[in-house]
Amino acid sequence: MVKRNTIAAISTPIGAGGIGIVRVSGDDALDIVKKHIVLLNNKNNNEIIPRMAHLATFNAENFKEQCIVIFFKNPNSYTGENLVEIQCHGGVTIANGILKTLLNSGARLAEAGEFTKRAFLNGKISLDKAEGVMDMINAESESEVKAGYNLLNGELSKKVKTLQDNLTNLLAEIEVALDYPEHDIEEQTSEHVYNELLNIEKELNNVLKTSKTGLQIKNGTRIAIVGKPNVGKSSLMNALLNFDRAIVTNIQGTTRDVLEETYVYNGVKFVLIDTAGVRESTDIIEQMGIEKSLKSINSADVILFVVDSSSELTKEDLDICNKVSDKNTILVVNKTDLPSKIDLSKLQFKHQIKLSALTKANIDDLKQLIYNLVINSEVLQSNLIITNERQIEAIRNALTDLNYAKEGIKLNNSLDLISIDLNNLWNTLGEITGTTSNEEIINKIFSNFCVGK
């Protein structure tokens, strides 16, 4: 059985914000909340009307808070269960206090995504939609919400269904000739099938293209800051974050571990990775830090290779240059506030920027440059971005099936063999659209062709 116990959680993001919302869902949701509230205007607690906003005082363990209480009666709620929303003032303390009070009187803290899971288990949303909501829960930036939201609307499903329908027609045309070989039906040519496949392939590739941006939006674009010691990597990180996160000293090897922080630019999340300066070192701890730095070069989407313009290039700079030259790298020439001594002719990078982390000159230009480098703005403007691993996997599998079919045609195999891969392709697309019954193809055969004895 689905566990019917009552869960509670703070539904708004922790941190700043004008209001906070605490949600309680389950059979006992209303009873638990009632224990702690007094309705205003001398109304009795039994007068709570579903879907009406009630002003009430919440008696938390250490404070009283004026809030709005809304009750959604099952099954007409997001989760399909009894659900109460308590809207209170913003800030961590108030929402936390309310939650704690509820947890002490019969509710259990919800696990991540549990509200959506219940909605799904109670048949309120489909798997496709549930995955969209799951993504939205974890959405930390605007674009991510957009991607999650489109999935919720079934955009992907709609798009893929169109492709699947094209394939249904194609398969019906092939299958009817196989099942009714003696009927005078015009047989499909391999060329026609091949051309249709090219169209489907193009569309699938377009969807897949969005997934790269989609995943970067979802997980954040990873930017590694690398350079030899004391070129100002930590200062650059602080400048990009606009607050002091990294300790900045003029002592070489200050940053011994890899620091990670995120910032949001144009609604997109970026993860900054400050690395230990790469140099020959005898300090074991520093060596470990350097090793990690080298690893993060490989896992990063973008590398900021920092050099100090106020001093001449050294062998260490050139060693690092070799390591990052084949990567998606931006050469950052730091310390432009000091007189320039550097000769940049040995460092050839497609993307290059001069700035001062100290004075923050050109920092915004750098942010824009990074953004342009990783975000395909065309994709971002389109109304379909896929971020879900399962769906990306399904599309990749579909492309594999499609390639087998194309190869088969090139090898001059007969269409009944090609149709094996086309049927696999059809079923793989069905994993996204939810249509997996071959009755559809058979129905098409009978509605489009005059066959039979």
Partner: protein, 619 residues
């Protein structure tokens, strides 16, 4: 009188059912309305065809009779789709319908443990939800441990030709008028289906000289793996077409067509429409092709395939005379539509046993199918499973990746059908594996194990299997590009010679090289029977596709392996939509794979059900 099994009906399902139980050693009674209707080919005079040919060879591989009998009575045959891949090649044979009946009757009469009786079953005897016998209209009671209902289209049958309606079965045979009530009393859902048959004309009144000939093919596979002498082509078929005038006659007289005047209410099949339906639904089509097929060597009657109708006789005359070559044709038997009662196949387990009454099985058109081959396939499975049950052994349920028979019965018991169900290759998701040429390799071992396939058949199978394995091993041999024979072969085939050594089996993957060419240059591979070489050629040539089908089968198996506990109460699973709750409660699937194929159960329902079963198992 006491028997182990009683089979009601002697059509294609009934014949296979009673032969299976009798051959498995059970004392069997076959009740038939008319001994002259045993294995009667009531509609077209042919056996096999796309997907149906596969069914026939599968039944044969298990130890059934339809393949043997069809080979005996074949008067012309063709391998359909012979220009296409091996998966969709199917044998279709014109059979002598007189001989088909007499030969099958002879086989039944000579079968040990089998007793044939002409009588009308009127009541199925049931106590405590267990079947114990059959009562006949003649007043006799026969006791048995199992009953198999194979009543075909005879339950409350009526035939319709224009305004003329007659309460009888096909060809004027008497209808079965009592059994429907007994089934309804037992709680079965009874439905009304419809099908039809075209006119039969006198062959001597057809002007064949103006028509296109349709010849048979030689040197092709038999239906049966134990047929020693391949049948010869003895007749010609002919092709003609409807024309503008035919269509005008039909459209002018639509108000007299029972299909359109509302006389016929039964559900007819989409794949076997009457000519009036074709003309109305596909207005753009200028002509429809019609095949003229002789019905037997001992008669001049000719069947007009594609010309099924229920128009009044005078209109039928006009329609026939509008056809090229049939201007003066004499109609010997009128076309008619036939309506009959059938049950809802979702009320059966995949063993074809009733979910509510133990020991009661159903097979054939009474389950809502169409076609001799589909009927025979169910007949043999109902026979096998009733026999196994009586012997206290595990039932046999063929999977979708094992046989078309498995696809057929899974579709019937999982999805059900709203029209007479016809097998098609497009219904089988693993059709490259379910080929006609390898039916014995898939099923004969099983048939022998359950005591149905004979020792003789098993030995033929073993010899073939060993030969195939031996040759397949040989095909692993690596041939050097320096090999003169290889160079000559590649030159003849106009293929590029590989730079390094190539396995013999990979040579066959080249699109321009087949086994025949290959063995010309490498005669150490040629010392095997043709059918063995063909198997090996298919295995080598299509290895990539076969591997991909295997992967798909493995994926499906994972779903099939999640067993749904029989005591599950779908109404208590909150996440399921009400429609899914109802469908699942009705069908009671055995596993998640079967559940996912039920119409009205969505992928989201399946996810909920899977989660539910997993949490259930945890407790």
């Amino acid at each position: 009188m006491e028997y182990d099994v009683i089979v009601i009906g002697s059509g294609h399902a009934g014949c296979e059912a009673c032969l299976a139980t009798a051959r498995m050693g059970l004392k069997t009674l076959l009740l038939t309305l008319n001994l002259d209707s045993i294995a009667f080919l009531a509609c077209n005079p042919n056996i096999g065809g796309t997907a149906k040919g596969q069914l026939v060879s599968e039944i044969d591989a298990l130890g059934g009779e339809i393949g043997v009998n069809a080979d005996k009575c074949t008067i012309q045959r063709k391998m359909l789709n012979s220009s296409k891949g091996p998966a969709v090649q199917s044998l279709r044979a014109q059979t002598d319908k007189v001989m088909y009946h007499t030969e099958m009757k002879k086989t039944l009469e000579n079968c040990k443990n089998l007793f044939i009786k002409q009588a009308e079953a009127s009541e199925i005897l049931v106590k405590d939800n267990c079947v114990y016998g059959v009562k006949t209209a003649q007043g006799e009671t026969y006791i048995s441990k199992a009953v198999i209902v194979c009543t075909g289209v005879y339950l409350k049958a009526r035939i319709i030709t224009g305004e003329y309606i007659n309460d009888c079965g096909p060809n004027g045979f008497a209808a079965a008028n009592y059994l429907t009530k007994s089934l309804m009393d037992l709680g079965f859902t009874v439905r009304r289906f419809k099908t039809g048959t075209p006119v039969r004309v006198h062959g001597k009144t057809i002007d064949y000289s103006v028509l296109e000939e349709q010849l048979g093919e030689d040197n092709i596979q038999n239906f049966s793996f134990i047929t020693k002498k391949s049948p010869k082509n003895k007749i010609k078929c002919y092709l003609t077409y409807t024309n503008e005038e035919t269509h005008k006659i039909i459209l002018d007289n639509l108000d007299r067509a029972p299909m359109y005047s509302g006389v016929i209410t039964g559900l007819g099949p989409r794949y076997c429409p009457s000519i009036e339906t074709k003309v109305v639904r596909f207005k753009d089509k200028e002509r429809h092709q019609l095949f003229l097929e002789p019905e037997a060597l001992t008669t001049n009657e000719v069947y007009i395939q594609g010309f099924s109708t229920s128009m009044p006789v005078e209109i039928q005359e006009k329609m026939v005379h509008s056809l090229k070559g049939l201007e003066h044709a004499h109609i010997m038997r009128d076309a008619y539509a036939i309506e009959y009662d059938c049950i809802d196949s979702t009320e059966l387990y995949p063993t074809l046993e009733s979910k509510n009454i133990s020991g009661l099985y159903f097979a054939g058109q009474v389950n809502g199918t169409s076609g001799y081959e589909e009927a025979a396939a169910q007949g043999i499975m109902a026979g096998i499973n009733s026999a196994l049950k009586i012997k206290g052994k595990e039932p046999v349920v063929l999977k979708r990746n094992e046989a078309y028979i498995g696809v057929l019965i899974d579709d019937l018991t999982t999805k059900g059908t709203n029209e007479p169900y016809r097998m098609m290759t497009s219904r089988a998701e693993y059709r490259l594996i379910l080929r006609q040429d390898n039916a014995d390799l898939r099923l004969t071992e099983l048939g022998y194990k359950i005591g149905l396939a004979t020792k003789q058949r098993y030995n033929i199978f073993l010899k073939r299997k060993n030969n195939i394995n031996e040759l397949l091993t040989k095909m692993e041999k690596i041939l050097s590009p320096a090999n003169k024979s290889l160079q000559m072969l590649f030159e003849e085939a106009n293929e590029t010679l590989p730079k390094s050594g190539i396995k013999a089996k990979d040579v066959l993957k080249r699109s321009n090289i087949n086994f025949e060419m290959f063995e010309k240059y490498f005669n150490e591979f040629s010392d095997y029977p043709t059918d063995v070489k063909k198997q090996v050629e298919i295995e080598c040539k299509y290895e990539g596709y076969l591997t991909r089908q295997d992967v798909a089968i493995d994926q499906a198996k994972r779903q099939e392996s999640i067993v749904i506990p029989s005591e599950i109460d779908y109404n208590k699973i909150k996440g399921l939509r009400i429609e899914a709750q109802q469908k699942l409660s009705d069908i009671r699937p055995f596993n998640i794979g079967q559940a996912s194929r039920i119409s009205g159960v969505s992928p989201a329902d399946i996810a909920v059900l899977t989660v539910y079963i997993k949490t259930m198992n945890k407790k």
